[in-house]
């Protein structure tokens, strides 16, 4: 779901960079105040974990496979603020070292996948999980639905950012300079695959990992009043 360079204008990406930078600074402050040990190895390893989740092929019913983003999973395991930094790092490593994603569009990718997706998914998870305990069916189901909601919201946002390009940036003769399709094409093109295959992959991996860790490693989910896992403390 990464937007590569060239699909959206630097203006759109610049606005999203400006929106992401204060969020990253705030998350760094929150993480520094909450994590007792040096935060560098923990965040770096969480970033590597996020990268691997993005790389994993998820088996789906019918013999097909899909990819997950994993932003909501990391948010449920360590809290949304460390997740924002971890997913941002994973996206930056992909863009800088492997040339995947984009340099100019990194701001947009951070906003969509590292901020909106984990925070929205985590909120849905918290509401649906209620007072359920790790290892309970409801807890894992809430995680799965959080993953499903998070990835769909992020997909809709990507569809919106792509779809506004022909309206904002075109030559005098009307030739679009970036993504050539309007909202009536980009929104369904992004949302429909994520309501089905992408959302299912995200829900299965988020719910599955939370169910596994909730059953065998309950200590990871010692939630505090602020709602983030002990793994990040």
């Amino acid at each position: 779901m990464h937007i590569p360079d060239g699909y959206i204008s630097p203006h759109t990406s610049g606005v999203l960079y400006l929106a992401s930078i204060p969020l990253l600074c705030l998350s760094m402050r929150i993480v520094r105040s909450r994590i007792k040990q040096s935060h560098i190895p923990l965040l770096a390893l969480l970033a590597a974990f996020s990268f691997l989740i993005m790389m994993f092929n998820i088996p789906l019913p019918g013999g097909t496979t899909g990819h997950a983003v994993g932003g909501v999973l990391v948010a449920i395991l360590v809290g949304p603020w460390p997740a924002l930094l971890a997913v941002t790092l994973a996206l930056a490593v992909q863009a800088i070292f492997f040339g995947d994603g984009g340099i100019i569009t990194l701001g947009a990718n951070i906003f969509n996948l590292a901020f909106v997706m984990p925070f929205a998914g985590y909120l849905v998870f918290r509401v649906l999980a209620g007072r359920s305990e790790p290892g309970e069916r409801r807890f894992a189901l809430a995680a799965a639905l959080g993953g499903y909601a998070g990835v769909n919201l992020a997909a809709a946002l990507v569809g919106f950012e792509l779809g506004i390009q022909p309206l904002l940036h075109h030559l005098p003769d009307g030739t679009p300079l970036y993504c050539p399709y309007s909202l009536s094409v980009t929104l369904p093109a992004m949302i429909l695959p994520h309501l089905t295959v992408g959302g299912l992959a995200e829900a299965l991996v988020t719910g599955g990992v939370v169910a596994f860790l909730g059953k065998y490693h309950t200590e990871l989910f010692s939630y505090t009043g602020t709602g983030h896992g002990k793994a990040a403390e």
């Binding site: 760094m28 040096s38 190895p41 770096a44 691997l52 984009g102 003769d173 299965l204 596994f212 860790l213």
Partner: protein, 250 residues
């Protein structure tokens, strides 16, 4: 048809292969390899920004030709470079650009069966493909000619906060380690299983593997933290080599 194990193993092998490829190309004595990495970062941002801002096909074609020229001057095999840019990376962009050829209303250019390619459609598709290919070419040139430790040192030289540089460096280093761990897990699984397994069991395996990788990440993070402290880490990374300035950089 390849299953999820084979596809994930292939993705992991591809990333490891790409990290090794970078090491081999970046050791050649070409133009970009000799250029100060700080200058390369500034050039990368400026050139990708120019690709994003260009409003004519000619300007985009000139930018793409510049990327090709830089690849040749940097002793990167042009066939390898072109293949990497055109076949693997923007294959997706090509698929997205293709419908624009037929769907964009305008004056007919030529017909393929019942489908008519319009002049405006060709222009739109060319914008997208040229813009993405040029941007990807510059990013790839930077990645191929700059070892990760030099890139990190250059970011520090450009006054990027030390904590951000350390985070990027440690993430990259341990990403490769975790990919090896995952590949071992998947290979062990593949060697134990014959034939097809039900989707539910496959999903259980994925959940357990991802859960294990998460626990492994926490375990490694704690070990890295302890080893950093024992080596006198104070919060400021120390570069392995001194920054270099050469006459060629001017």
């Amino acid at each position: 048809m390849a299953g999820f194990l084979e596809k994930t193993l292939r993705s992991g092998a591809d990333i490891l292969e790409r990290s090794l490829t970078v090491e081999s190309w970046s050791r050649r004595r070409g133009f970009l390899q000799k250029t100060d990495p700080r200058l390369k970062i500034v050039m990368l941002v400026v050139l990708v920004l120019l690709c994003s801002l260009a409003r004519s096909h000619v300007h985009l074609a000139i930018l793409y030709a510049t990327a090709l020229l830089l690849a040749v001057l940097s002793r990167i095999d042009p066939f390898f470079f072109t293949k990497r840019v055109w076949i693997f990376i923007p294959a997706f962009s090509g698929l997205i650009a293709l419908p624009a050829l037929f769907l964009t209303p305008g004056s007919p250019l030529f017909s393929i069966g019942p489908m008519t390619v319009t002049r405006e459609g060709a222009s739109t598709a060319a914008f997208l493909v040229l813009r993405v290919s040029s941007s990807v070419s510059f990013t790839l040139l930077f990645a191929l000619t700059t070892p990760w430790n030099e890139a990190m040192q250059a970011l520090r030289g450009l006054r990027v906060p030390a904590v951000a540089v350390s985070l990027l460096a440690v993430s990259y280093r341990y990403l490769l380690l975790l990919i090896r761990t995952l590949s071992e897990l998947l290979t062990a699984r593949k060697s134990r299983v014959l034939g097809r397994t039900p989707c539910r069991r496959e999903m259980d395996f994925v959940s357990r593997s991802a859960g294990f990788l998460f626990l492994r990440s926490l375990y490694i993070a704690e070990g890295v933290h302890m080893s950093m402290i024992s080596r006198g880490y104070t919060g400021e990374p120390s570069p392995a080599e001194k920054e270099r300035d050469g006459g060629g950089d001017a």
